[in-house]
């Protein structure tokens, strides 16, 4: 892992009189490669390494008895800071009935499953949620949400017509008349370059005015995580991010890149296929994971 690599690098450097611009270059190259192997976006990695390098040339590192350890700590602190300090909870205004959550993201990222997980969690916390099936395209998407809803005893609203707006607004009405205090709107997976689908997402957002618009992203995503998140954020100005499939062994550098570029909080981590597999996000744990 990175820590071992840096130890080795500095063992080789130990014979040298001082840590300086020239020999720190090797350590920085190792750090950059470790970040890239962890799927951190290459532009983000470049900038991050420049910051780390600057800090690594500081007095306390140069004079340190273990520069490798100090540099690893600097990297860890940088990553943790970017991941976002403390956990940021869901912001559902208590007086608003119903509060509205909407999810969006690329195909297969885990949106539908997350909606059910969130509904179950909110129900456990005393809320009365309703799920709205606004993915009117994917075969059996509505059926999928229905089945999940039945599992957790949460009602699911859907419409017959392939009309996402009709489903969303109908769901809102059903919530009001059914005394539900949270509406969770599931939407179809879409590409950020699909103008028609991005326009739909924008229209849904504008009509619903969700209290929480969450961007659901697969933690194993590669370099395009940045461009994707940026496009979704520019278009939808989402409130938070949900990272999924963290029960896998992907290092999750996409999370770092997304945080660095859109600066929105990561609110949840999906850690499994079951409807209970939802965790609150821990920035320092994510930093550790990316470092490997």
């Amino acid at each position: 892992n990175l820590s071992d690599k840096l130890e080795l690098t500095f063992k080789k450097l130990a014979g040298q009189a001082t840590i300086n611009e020239v020999n720190i270059g090797i350590a920085m190259r190792d750090i950059k490669r470790a970040l890239l192997s962890a799927d951190v976006n290459y532009k983000v990695a470049k900038k991050l390494v420049e910051d780390i390098r600057e800090k690594s040339l500081g007095e306390s590192v140069i004079k340190s008895v273990s520069p490798a350890q100090m540099i690893v700590k600097i990297v860890n602190d940088e990553l943790t800071e970017i991941m976002g300090g403390e956990n940021q909870p869901l912001n559902l205004p208590p007086k608003k009935i119903p509060a509205i959550v909407m999810v969006a993201g690329l195909q297969g990222s885990g949106k539908t499953t997350f909606c059910a997980k969130l509904a179950k969690r909110l129900k456990k916390n005393g809320k009365n949620p309703i799920l709205v099936a606004a993915d009117v395209y994917r075969p059996a998407a509505i059926e999928q949400l229905r089945t999940l809803g039945e599992q957790i005893d949460v009602p699911v609203f859907s419409v017959e017509e392939p009309d996402a707006m009709k489903a969303a607004l109908g769901g809102l009405e059903a919530a009001k008349s059914g005394a539900k205090d949270v509406v969770i709107v599931d939407t179809a997976g879409r590409l950020q370059i699909d103008e028609v689908m991005m326009a739909e997402a924008e229209a849904l957002k504008n009509r619903l005015s969700p209290d929480e618009l969450l961007f659901v992203v697969d933690s194993m995503m590669g370099q395009e995580a940045v461009n994707t998140a940026k496009a979704f954020n520019d278009r939808l100005d989402f409130d938070g991010v949900v990272l999924t499939k963290l029960d896998g062994d992907a290092r999750g550098g996409a999370a770092l890149s997304i945080r660095q570029v859109v600066e929105k909080p990561i609110k949840f981590m999906s850690v499994g296929e079951k409807v209970d597999d939802l965790d609150v996000f821990y920035p320092d744990r994510m930093a550790q994971r990316i470092l490997g």
């Binding site: 890239l36 195909q107 297969g108 999928q144 599992q151 461009n227 029960d247 896998g248």
Partner: protein, 283 residues
């Protein structure tokens, strides 16, 4: 790559960035850059095109071709009847949609197809595949949520043998490769298929989400350990991801990319073309 006729530091740095940005990964990128540095030592190229062609050839070399016993074309004769193709991969990669696309293509080519709905775990998995099977106009065999996936496969293969079906497409549940009990289940499904036909499955296609980063290499390694993966399907290449991960996978595991998914409709499947793939990679 812009108007250059010789390989200098600036050229190599730009190439490195392009490859990394395309998810090729650090190690493979550095190897490609080394190979190009070596090959172009002391050379000037007559045109930008000639230099680019050299670069593309160096990259294309890493991509293994499909073997003759696993033909890519849907109208090619198959080595067995029924010819059993198992589709595997992590959650949400695009397996079910790819099964639909494959069914549609084999059916169009005049082959008799049956789909085995062996994802008995996920909510509405059978319902999703049933809609696709109906659209493709092919029969589907399934037992719904909670059934034993191995028994669905056994029934489907048995039915195919008795009905003279040409192709059996087995859709399986998404599973993360680091979950050994799920990987064991997949190995078991394969063993049960072999009880009916010893050579089955004749192909095991690993479906990779084209947006995946370096974890795809680990996925390929692990799936290959538990089931004999014979080829790859890379999906969602209609998005902005380039799918560069296949270079590492191809060279390390000798796995050819057979098909790519370029959309959500039933005909959004293309035969993998090494040249167009490498061209798109460098764009």
């Amino acid at each position: 790559s812009k108007g250059k006729t010789e390989v200098d530091d600036e050229f190599l740095e730009e190439l490195e960035n392009i490859l990394v940005a395309a998810d090729v990964g650090v190690e493979t990128t550095l190897d490609i850059v080394d190979a190009i540095t070596e090959r172009s030592k002391g050379k000037t190229y007559r045109s930008e095109e000639e230099l680019n062609e050299m670069v593309m050839e160096e990259i294309r070399k890493l991509l293994v071709e499909s073997s003759h016993d696993h033909p890519v074309d849907f109208d090619a004769p198959l080595s067995a009847k029924p010819y059993v193709i198992m589709i595997v991969g992590v959650n949400g990669a695009g397996k079910t949609t790819s099964v639909a696309k494959l069914a549609h293509n084999y059916d169009k080519a005049g082959k008799k197809v049956v789909i085995a709905a062996a994802d008995t775990f996920r909510a509405a998995a059978y319902e999703q595949l049933k809609i696709w099977a109906d659209r493709a106009g092919v029969p589907i065999i399934g037992q719904g949520q909670g059934a034993d996936p191995a028994s669905v496969v056994f029934d489907s293969v048995s039915s195919a043998v008795s009905k003279g079906t040409d192709v059996v497409l087995v859709d399986t549940a998404g599973r993360l490769h680091n979950k050994s009990h799920l990987m064991e289940e997949l190995a078991k499904i394969m063993r049960v298929a072999k009880k009916k036909i010893p050579e089955a499955p004749h192909e095991v296609l690993l479906v990779l989400d084209g947006t995946t980063g370096q974890n795809a290499v680990q996925q390929a390694r692990e799936f290959t350990k538990f089931v004999n993966v014979t080829g790859l399907v890379v999906t969602k290449l209609d998005g902005t991801s380039k799918g560069g991960i296949v270079l590492s996978i191809s060279r390390e595991l000798n796995l050819p990319v057979k098909y790519i998914g370029v959309g959500e409709k039933i005909d959004d499947l293309q035969l993998f073309d090494r040249s167009s793939f490498v061209e798109a990679l460098l764009e």
